[in-house]
Symmetry: C2
Amino acid sequence: MNIPQSNKKRVIIIGGGFAGIALAKKLKNKNLQVVLLDKHNYHTFQPLLYQVATGGLEAGSIAYPIRKVMQGCEDFYFRLTSVKEIDTNAQKVISEIGDLHYDFLVIATGSKTNYFGNKEIERNSMSMKTIPQALNIRSLILENFEQAVLTKNQSDREALINFVLVGGGPTGVELAGALAEMKKAILQKDYPDLDIQKMQINLIQSGDRILNTMSVESSNASEAFLESLGVKIWKNVRVTNYDGRIISTNSDLTFDSATVIWTAGVQGAAISGLDVNSLVERVERIKVNQFNQVKGYDNIFAIGDIASMESELYPQGHPMMAQPAIQQGNLLGENLWRLVNGQNMKPFEYNDKGSMATIGRNKAVVDLPKYHFNGVFAWFVWMFVHLFSLIGFKNKAVVFLNWVYNYIRFDREGRLIIRPYKKRSFTTFTSDEV
Amino acid sequence: MNIPQSNKKRVIIIGGGFAGIALAKKLKNKNLQVVLLDKHNYHTFQPLLYQVATGGLEAGSIAYPIRKVMQGCEDFYFRLTSVKEIDTNAQKVISEIGDLHYDFLVIATGSKTNYFGNKEIERNSMSMKTIPQALNIRSLILENFEQAVLTKNQSDREALINFVLVGGGPTGVELAGALAEMKKAILQKDYPDLDIQKMQINLIQSGDRILNTMSVESSNASEAFLESLGVKIWKNVRVTNYDGRIISTNSDLTFDSATVIWTAGVQGAAISGLDVNSLVERVERIKVNQFNQVKGYDNIFAIGDIASMESELYPQGHPMMAQPAIQQGNLLGENLWRLVNGQNMKPFEYNDKGSMATIGRNKAVVDLPKYHFNGVFAWFVWMFVHLFSLIGFKNKAVVFLNWVYNYIRFDREGRLIIRPYKKRSFTTFTSDEV
């Protein structure tokens, strides 16, 4: 990897998400050599991916160059690569661009979509964990509309504008709301030759309420918001297959749709090389102690979504979201420094600041630790929290400007198919007079 | 194409560039059925492509959804497709999505890169006529830097950060300037482990001055500006080949570079089906009379870059740029309407408003018909003209905000590799300890 030897200890961080970046910033000029590896050269602000997917924001507004975050750090090295595995005996990371020895290794690889082993669903449905995936969804939505205006076959046309979101967590709920807003404000005007009332947004949830990690009040409010926007919510329904056209479920219920967006499960983005005893197999997360030390290793740590730290309050580990990741990254930054200086590490305690989701124009739900609210005020809170969490002044300003514009004009001008996605390859569609 | 019969005459416009959009807007609700065909669902503001390529602007800021431009038009149809050919006997356009009969056909397909038949240059070099191409250039520039930090082989490393721009027209000049600004302000800070002084920007021009369609004063000023930024200008040099690594020329001069951006020639983006006598073979443009009527046809028109209208002042047709395209589109909109109403068409007269190019921070050259100037004031003029020419309030505002930010902060935050481009496939590079 062409990284010079230094007389400082070397920390390798795998992943530049919320956890990895928080850690790297804490280690700035702290008498450690820091090497950060990531598949992308930018940090992604994942909570706003759904707005990229629905044309409300440009990709660049929620991405930030990692090298820019770390400008001015001494003995810091970023490398754009994919890690293949780790060799814990030789203390080496093995990557696409070569091997590198570590003194401390921090795994901050985050999470990926969990299809629970169903390869056919994985092949035919869309997921939304990265910017390229969000842009693929954007392209597909628009391509389907472009294809729908071409066909005279009614069932094909309706399948092309039937959007099925599997999973009633924040991603599914926020996407459903954004699609419903697009339907009302934009698609109706853009496609006057389509009967837009035929556009369906179906949200399928396996449990008995959506947003089930939030309060019951917030679940109920978000259901009411979504229904007022015309989203159909299907609870206690489990999707069993999707062949690219027909969605089957655990009941007689089926859906005929060209677009399934799968947000029904996440799992850790695991790396091979760790002892199996240090893994939570079912969700592919890595077991860590209260210092984020991986079970069975002294000098390997895991932080963020990939780390499963069991505690009384969180017997299955912390929720896989930004806040625990940032807090763990920050604390590990201090702890590594303590470790190098022969001091004791501090145990992690999660400070739950609450959670929130936006459903659409003037509609959001907010759970603070002791207080739940929803509606217009919640929506403003949601906006300001997200705006201020973005890295960089310019991204904040551009996102703010976009939101004000979109709000006033009921518009989303990012409806651009820059890179087409599997262009018209729905072989299951009947051929049609074109 | 699923377009209803109407009792109005049908105009098919091929291409939603400057000419096609200007025409379509003029034909809004004018008692004609208008069908607009384009490969992209957005209009591209091509003069700012080089800023997308160099990370100064996001793609969405210079693109505008065609359906949004045409919202509220009656009997207007947009179709996303590529036209394969035209059948002038049957009066049909034959496209990927089917055939369509026309009463009037307008060819506004614009221009494409001209490699003068050299397939090896075409395969190995980059061109910049579309947004996806500009994004590929952006990715490649950044990928080359990421690869350069990995290699210890000096000649590989220097080739990776040697950028060769072939063609000294506005595109080559503006790109060269933007790359030089990136070098100074960003790359130096982003890649502290590279010797940035080894980064080269070479601009190769076959003639004896750059910007040779502008005044001699502007040519000289832009040369001085580029040289002050560290760009090396090679005049009277013709590139004869590029194998992906070595650029050969008509003299002993060679360059060793991983990146060649080819802006040395444009030609019309021709469509098959027209009589050969109506074509200017060398540049693939279509011969039109002063009403933009294609030679030999009454009901087929060509406007913009693709149209070659010979006149005393422009014996080889008008320059292939935005202004003639917009003016021809506007006039043809009126003329078609006159034609349908049995009136005489008006001949086209080009109103040359001048031309300009920007070289970098505070540096631009402007040629007005009777007056040439350059420097800071020219740079402001350039910015305001481009800002106001963008479609849409939001794009104007976002571009303005980006420019102010980039100016104050000496920054370009769009240095994101969203879609990698032919990832590390320089097989001509020696394998290296990685």
